[in-house]
């Protein structure tokens, strides 16, 4: 993994959104990034073997607009055999058991079906989401303490062959 942080990506996305560019490909050590303003877009073959190591959803705007464009990136970026772990219901997504604590899982971490991945909070009631699969965490699709909706992809897992 590169030392590009989520904040860097967010800044990048903001710059991209403000620009009149329609697509952007970025490759720096260990990071392949493809972002597009068109929902159906897919990375060209050259950028196809992405490391996909960061959440590449468009920056969540505070305005009441559905972040629909993110779907293309979420699905388009990942190899087909990766498994999506989805939100069981609407709620607030937490990567760690309490504020300041290390996250339940890190990128690249090996997980078992009963590995706890995150918490979904609904009115102070916290529900654990378990992996349900053996493999490696490849993507975290949601920022900590963000609102997630039912069926929204939270993690992408590369399952053991």
């Amino acid at each position: 993994m590169s030392d590009v942080t989520a904040k860097d990506i967010e800044a990048l996305l903001q710059t991209f959104e403000a620009s009149d560019w329609s697509e952007m490909k970025l490759k720096i050590d260990g990071l392949d990034l493809f972002i597009s303003k068109s929902p159906g877009a897919r990375p060209s073959p050259a950028a196809g073997e992405m490391a996909a190591s960061a959440p590449v959803a468009p920056a969540s705007a505070p305005a009441p607009v559905v972040a629909a464009g993110s779907a293309a990136l979420k699905h388009g970026a990942a190899p087909d055999h990766w498994i999506a772990v989805r939100a069981p219901n609407l709620g607030t997504f937490y990567r760690s058991p309490k504020p300041g604590a290390p996250p339940y899982v890190e990128l690249g971490q090996r997980i078992e079906p009963m590995t706890e991945l995150c918490l979904i909070e609904v009115m102070k009631l916290f529900t654990s989401v378990f992996a349900g699969v053996t493999g490696v965490v490849r993507q975290v699709m949601v920022e900590d303490s963000e609102l997630v909706e039912f069926d929204q992809v939270l993690f992408l897992i590369e399952p053991d062959a």
Binding site: V66, N89, L90, E149, D151
Partner: protein, 455 residues
């Protein structure tokens, strides 16, 4: 207007109705939908959609915590519950109150006060509203006959320990009551383990008549006239009218007053309905219950009074005093609503979900359709089968009935079974034209013959 962004916690036509009313007032809208309703018309028209959970209502629309969480997380300062689902749960109103979200409806205390049947009867009694004459628990057949002689026959015995028809015997004279009392007591004992009975006056020909009201929360209550909802099957309304033209004017005025007094006594806030049983033969009405929500049939009151009740709901919740006063509200003409259901009357009203392949609703003067259906819409098996409300308005009842018949004749739906054919038959029935109806008419007079005619 204090409000800025409203979460609409419902589906179907009422969700669309609320989204449109809110947008017309300049409010932002967030629709909280289940996975089955992500592509609905309301979802398209709302500024934002959030998916609460999977299709089954208990995992989405019936989860109060989920709905309030969605409101807070999307920055909504108000929540409209629509009808059905959580709309009359005091727990939802309280959760909103606790989290600074304006509930577009009554206070949680009011919902509790009118939600419990016995509590509501106490309220009505305190407000001087008439209730069906009834006895306390009766020890013997002789005591029952003595009581019945006071209140007058016919009477019906009821089991103190339960309902559902067990222990119920209708008696038209003392002899029948003396005989039936023992039988009813044994039946009640077998069903509930307790043979205790009480007695109520039996209303032979009853109409269901309800008053549409809007409380301002300070004791003032506006009313928008009454509706006659006697056309029912298994306590489900099928056709509703306003005004209740079978009721004499003097009775009507007392009815409105009773509803206003009852809701005023608890400083009721927002839209509500007081339901009464009207004894046609005696020309008296009895309190039944309060519905602490906007109702399915609210459009007939809107058509005759010229107000937008959902808009008024939003305004009252937002601290805007309604621009109408009671003296400005009087009925114009007659309105009728028919509920269009995706059900098959020939197969015991079996719900008929599926994709709508043809949808040609009627149009024209005095015709209004409240629906969230269009060609290609999937009628989901998860929810209520109502797919549209056809509302007609004309200068008088015969005019409205004629308009209803024409509109139903023009209505074309394919892909699912509907009750449109049945509604056409009702709308052409002599009893309907003559307005000789009561709450048992559809089931006891009309339906037994409808099946036969259709073969």
């Amino acid at each position: 207007m204090r409000l800025r962004r409203v979460l609409v916690a419902n589906r179907g036509e009422i969700a669309l109705r609320v989204v449109r009313a809110a947008k017309a007032l300049g409010l932002e809208t967030v629709l909280a939908a289940s996975a089955a309703d992500r592509e609905s018309m309301a979802a398209r028209e709302a500024d934002r959609v959030v998916t609460l959970g999977p299709a089954p209502a208990r995992s989405s629309y019936l989860n109060a915590e989920l709905v309030v969480h969605a409101a807070k997380a999307t920055g909504c300062d108000a929540l409209h519950p629509g009808y059905g689902f959580l709309s009359e749960r005091a727990s939802l109103a309280r959760l909103c109150e606790q989290h600074g979200v304006t509930f577009i409806g009554p206070s949680s205390e009011s919902i509790e006060a009118v939600g419990d049947k016995l509590a509501a009867r106490r309220l009505a009694k305190a407000a001087g509203v008439a209730m069906t004459p009834g006895s306390a628990k009766l020890e013997s057949a002789a005591a029952a006959v003595a009581f019945a002689s006071q209140i007058g026959f016919p009477v019906v015995t009821k089991a103190s320990a339960g309902g559902g028809g067990r222990g119920m015997v209708v008696a038209r004279d003392a002899k029948a009551l003396a005989e039936g009392f023992e039988r009813a007591s044994v039946e009640a004992k077998e069903a509930f383990g307790d043979g205790t009975l009480y007695l109520e006056r039996y209303v032979e020909r009853a109409r269901h008549i309800e008053v549409q009201a809007l409380g301002l929360g300070d004791g003032r209550v506006l009313h928008f006239g009454e509706r006659d909802c006697s056309m029912q099957r298994r306590y489900q309304k099928m056709i509703e009218e306003a005004p209740a033209s079978a009721m004499p004017n003097a009775t009507r005025a007392r009815l409105h007053e009773a509803a206003v007094d009852l809701l005023g006594s608890i400083r009721y806030r927002n839209a509500g309905t007081v339901e009464f049983l009207y004894d046609v033969d005696r020309d008296v009405f009895y309190f039944m219950e309060v519905n602490a929500r906007i109702q399915v049939e609210h459009p007939v009151s809107e058509m005759i009074s010229g107000v937008d009740l959902v808009r008024l709901q939003l305004e009252v919740a937002g601290g805007v005093a309604p621009r109408v006063e009671q003296r400005d509200i009087f009925p114009h003409g007659h309105a009728i609503e028919a509920r269009i259901l995706a059900e098959d009357p020939r197969r015991g009203f079996l719900p008929s979900p599926g994709r709508i392949t043809r949808w040609r609703p009627p149009h024209g003067e005095g015709v209004r359709l409240d629906t969230a259906i269009e060609e290609g819409t999937m009628v989901s098996p998860y929810y209520d089968s109502m797919i549209a409300k056809l509302i007609v308005h004309a200068h008088d009842r015969p005019g409205a009935v004629a308009r209803l018949r024409d509109a139903l004749d023009a209505f074309e739906v394919a892909g699912v079974s509907t009750n449109i054919g049945l509604l056409r038959a009702v709308a052409s029935h002599a009893d309907f034209l003559a307005n000789k109806l009561d709450t048992r008419w559809l089931e006891t007079v009309f339906l037994p013959h409808y099946g036969q005619q259709e073969g």
